[in-house]
């Protein structure tokens, strides 16, 4: 049978019990399209774990208070092959993140675009962008 994953442009033919869902889960079930976020902060911790990596970011608010965010990233296995390793992405680095917040309102988001302080974008893989793995 065919089931179309809501919001995902790519329709994947799947079986009832096993689905080659895009990655492990639909962002549409996890994150809210009505809650786009843009934040800038310092990487406090990186979890290089499967199925997906998590980048912890400390965001300093205007009043000086620090808010902790968790940003979901790609599979470490794939990232390492692209050159996104612990040598490139380190604790203490400043990053800018664009994404969508978790539906349950917690400070978790998907990493729609992750940009390093030097302007390199981790999340851009299109040809000619100079993204990691392109070199």
């Amino acid at each position: 049978m065919k089931r179309h994953l809501a919001l995902l442009v790519l329709a994947v033919s799947i079986s009832v019990y096993v689905s080659p869902i895009l990655a492990h889960h639909a962002f549409s079930s996890e994150f809210d399209a009505n809650k786009p976020i843009k934040l800038k902060g310092t990487v406090s911790r990186i979890e290089w774990i499967n199925p997906h990596s998590w980048i912890h970011v400390d965001v300093k608010e205007t009043d000086g208070k620090v808010t902790k965010w968790m940003i979901e990233g790609g599979s470490p296995n794939a990232l390492i092959r692209r050159g996104v390793t612990s040598q490139l992405l380190k604790v203490g680095m400043e990053v800018s993140v664009e994404g969508y917040q978790a539906k349950d309102g917690s400070n978790r988001a998907n990493g729609r675009d992750i940009t390093l302080a030097d302007g390199r974008k981790l999340s851009v893989g299109s040809s000619g962008t100079g993204a990691p793995g392109e070199q």
Binding site: S15, H24, S28, G73
Partner: protein, 335 residues
Amino acid sequence: MRHFSTIGVLALLSFLPFVGLAQAPARTATATKAWTPPKTPDGQPDLQGYWTNITITPLERPANLANKEFFTRAEAEAYEKQVVDRNNADRRDGTPAQDVSRAYNDFWWDRGTKVVKTLRTSLIVDPPDGRVPAMVAGATQRLAAQARTRVGRATDGPEFRPLAERCLLWATAGPPMMPSFYNNNYQIVQNAGYVMILVEMIHDVRIIPIDNRPHLPGEVRQWLGNAVGHWDGNTLVVETTNFTDKTSFRSTSKDMKLTERFTRTDADTLMYEFTVDDPLTYVRPWTAQIPMSKTEGPIWEYACHEGNYAMTNVLSGARAEEKAAAEAAAKGSRK
């Protein structure tokens, strides 16, 4: 660039059967240059190493390529460009809904940019139209009944989430082993009696005895089926039966018989073919062919359960939506 030489050889080989006896000298000249597959120290064909089946060639031939079994090189390049452009999720010109769907951009993917080196337009080689055959009537009813048990329950609990999301089984891990969106890597290790295939996604190890032993009794069912192998010349043939109804490949039943064939065809290529024979689902057997290419190791462990926060997020997201809906309904009824 290795692909070009491979294609050249394949093109030549495919041409050879049509060459008459008058061309025999040329044929002999080619034969002397033929590549000799390596053997293990104990004399078996050596399939060992790291392999990848990454490709953008679809399982089924797209409708606009009907009757076109192979691309020319130029057509292949145009098709590759078209697919890569279409897959570009870094564009931000859509609606919020489209944008959130494109959040799976190339930070996540490694799904390849090239068609298969044979330049076929589909992975399916039989039937000749490159499409999955029609289903038998009983299959449609079986699938509908299975679907009904899950309607409206997708976020009831982890048991209703797909096996992949539960870190249990990746749908393309096989058997049969299909290219997926990332981590399309395999390692083969052999000894005298077994072939081991490590499948990167999402941690499965297939251990296949190659003594052509009988299959397990019919009542013994396994998620990856029961695989038994043997050598047919330089080809490893693996026949898998005894599947369960917990897994399925393209809607197959638990009684599918899957036959896989692995053949080294040049230094860079392990030709992988599989035939799905499932009379309970399809009106005829069908076969796909995926050339796997050498790649570099190691394959990192894919310890999926360790970081599966997403399961929590999906379910807590659903509970939050239900709560919001209930509150909205309560507010509405008070007015």
